[in-house]
């Protein structure tokens, strides 16, 4: 049936199914190598515990937990921090981004601040945040919030600027007021980039999670991993990394789904 398919002198497309199969095989192969390496004693469990141990530890984490909290509690604590920060970031960064996109005045005002702090490693300003805000939840949420704010804000700004001038002019000739233009043209027009910003933002936030939980946390996936590390519990570290990876992947899926659903016209 695929005989109509276009020939490519680079041969660079297999079917999506083939690629998926290759990926699945690769994943299995890696698990197998991991298993073999531990089962045959090539590496000590201290360096790389066996897959079975990690799975078993995952079970323990769910049942009895580690560092005075179950896996579920650690995950919830982290999710709570990231989502509070995300909510705050969306609520502030999107309006500010729109303002910066519309008004060069707002852009001039806020650009220096955002452009300066954006490339800073969160770990570098973490000491300041702790000195200013203490070691409680506020400091943690603020650190994650700051990591999210810049990408969401700058994406929103770029999205607003990218709304085609003709669209705005068209709306004006159709009698739209300034507010109507923002509501009916600028906001939906910038939505694809706002969502991209949110996706990048939540990724950044998640990446910052461990830094946030490095200081004075009593629960959280990052805290769990760091704590496990202190006791050389490599199995818990790896189990934690898996959970962190899976949650990150979940975020990405949700955000992609949201994009697909909210901006089906993206790229058209």
């Amino acid at each position: 049936m695929a005989s109509h398919e276009v020939k490519d002198p680079l041969n660079r497309r297999y079917s999506q199914r083939t690629t998926l199969i290759i990926s699945a095989v690769t994943t299995l192969a890696m698990l197998l190598i991991w298993w073999a390496a531990t089962a045959l004693g090539w590496v000590k469990p201290l360096f790389l515990p066996s897959p079975q141990t990690v799975v078993q530890r995952l079970g323990d984490l769910i049942d009895t937990g580690f560092a005075d909290a179950t896996l579920w509690q650690h995950t919830l604590a982290s999710l709570f921090r990231v989502f509070s920060a995300f909510l705050l970031a969306v609520l502030t960064a999107v309006p500010i981004g729109i303002l910066m996109g519309i008004h060069d005045f707002a852009k001039g005002l806020l650009d220096p601040v955002i452009e300066f702090y954006r490339p800073l490693p969160p770990l570098a300003y973490l000491p300041l945040i702790i000195i200013w805000l203490g070691i409680g939840e506020v400091a943690k949420v603020v650190l994650i919030y700051l990591a999210m704010f810049a990408p969401i804000c700058l994406s929103t700004r770029a999205g607003v600027r990218a709304v085609a001038r003709e669209k705005v002019l068209a709306a004006a000739t159709l009698g739209a007021s300034r507010l109507q233009i923002i509501r009916h043209i600028v906001l939906p027009g910038a939505l694809p980039e706002i969502l991209t910003g949110m996706r990048v933002g939540i990724g950044f936030g998640w990446t910052t999670l461990v830094a946030a939980e490095m200081v004075a946390a009593t629960a959280g996936l990052g805290f769990m991993v760091l704590n496990a590390k202190d006791f050389l519990a490599t199995d818990v570290v790896i189990a934690g990394i898996f959970v962190i990876g899976i949650v990150a992947y979940g975020f990405d899926l949700i955000m992609r789904g949201l994009e697909h659903w909210l901006v089906p016209w993206k790229g058209r």
């Binding site: 669209k167 068209a170 004006a172 000739t173 009698g175 109507q180 009916h184 939505l191 089906p264 058209r268």
Partner: protein, 265 residues
């Protein structure tokens, strides 16, 4: 009402790093009254869209005055509807909502809005496509949505930039007829840019022939073919009329003089 006046209007795009300054319009005088159907023709780059942008209020002149009913034009206005050369539809709205946009802005109640949108989609032959996403349509269909959107808002003045360019011959003819009818019924002032000499002659009561470098109105003609068409003559016979053919040759000669410069398209 709806009287547009251009008084020694020039538009100069300043030089940029890669380009020299371009005099897109050079001291253009023009007077357009209600019930005029002005068609504009000229080579690519001669300033047709620039002229339209001035009238639409998208552009301010470098020199001279642009006035609507003796008031200077300061920006876009709901009384001047625009059909864009490159369609400016909103991909997040379906066809019906795109067409309804002007009505939504005006706060028209839903029922009334739907009726009006239905009529306009009928006009442009897209009745079955109300709920389609605009990006699912072909280029020609999108162009027709843009026309329907402008018509739905029922502006006094209609500015159209090559609105029928992407359409096949048949659809094109039926839309030419539609625009003529609407123009006649409502006494609108229409400015219609086209690349087709036949179309310009057939539709316009006033043909504006422009030449480039610098953009100028070379000549204008008063025409009556469209009136004859509306009075019942067939399009075929009109286009075979010796006057029509002679005028076509004349305009062609102005736009593409034989042995003239090989300037870039």
């Amino acid at each position: 009402m709806s009287r547009i006046e251009l008084d020694k209007v020039s538009v100069v795009f300043p030089a940029s790093r890669h380009t020299e300054a371009v005099t897109a319009l050079d001291k253009v005088d023009l007077l357009l009254e209600a019930e005029t159907f002005a068609t504009v023709i000229g080579r690519s780059g001669c300033g047709k869209t620039t002229l339209l942008n001035l009238l639409a209020g998208f552009l301010a002149p470098t020199a001279g005055k642009v006035a609507l009913d003796s008031q200077p034009i300061h920006g876009p206005g709901v009384e001047r509807g625009v059909v864009f050369q490159k369609n400016a539809l909103m991909p997040w709205l379906n066809v019906a909502d795109n067409v309804a946009l002007g009505l939504t802005f005006a706060g028209m109640p839903k029922q009334q809005r739907q009726d009006r949108v239905g009529t306009c989609l009928d006009w442009v032959g897209l009745s079955g496509f109300a709920n389609h996403r605009v990006y699912e349509l072909s280029g020609g269909m999108q162009q027709r949505v843009g026309i329907a959107r402008a018509l739905a808002a029922d502006p006094k003045i209609l500015l159209m930039d090559e609105p029928l360019g992407a359409l096949d011959a048949l659809t094109r003819e039926s839309l030419q007829e539609l625009i003529l009818e609407l123009w006649q019924k409502a006494g609108k002032l229409v400015l219609f840019i086209t690349h087709s000499i036949e179309e310009a002659l057939f539709l316009g009561t006033r043909l504006i022939v422009m030449t480039p470098r610098p953009g100028k109105i070379h000549k204008t003609y008063d025409l009556s073919f469209s009136k004859r068409f509306l009075a019942g003559e067939s399009a075929r016979s009109l286009k075979a009329d010796p006057d029509f053919i002679a005028l076509r040759e004349e305009v062609l000669e102005v736009i593409h003089p034989r042995g003239g410069d090989h300037g870039e398209p």
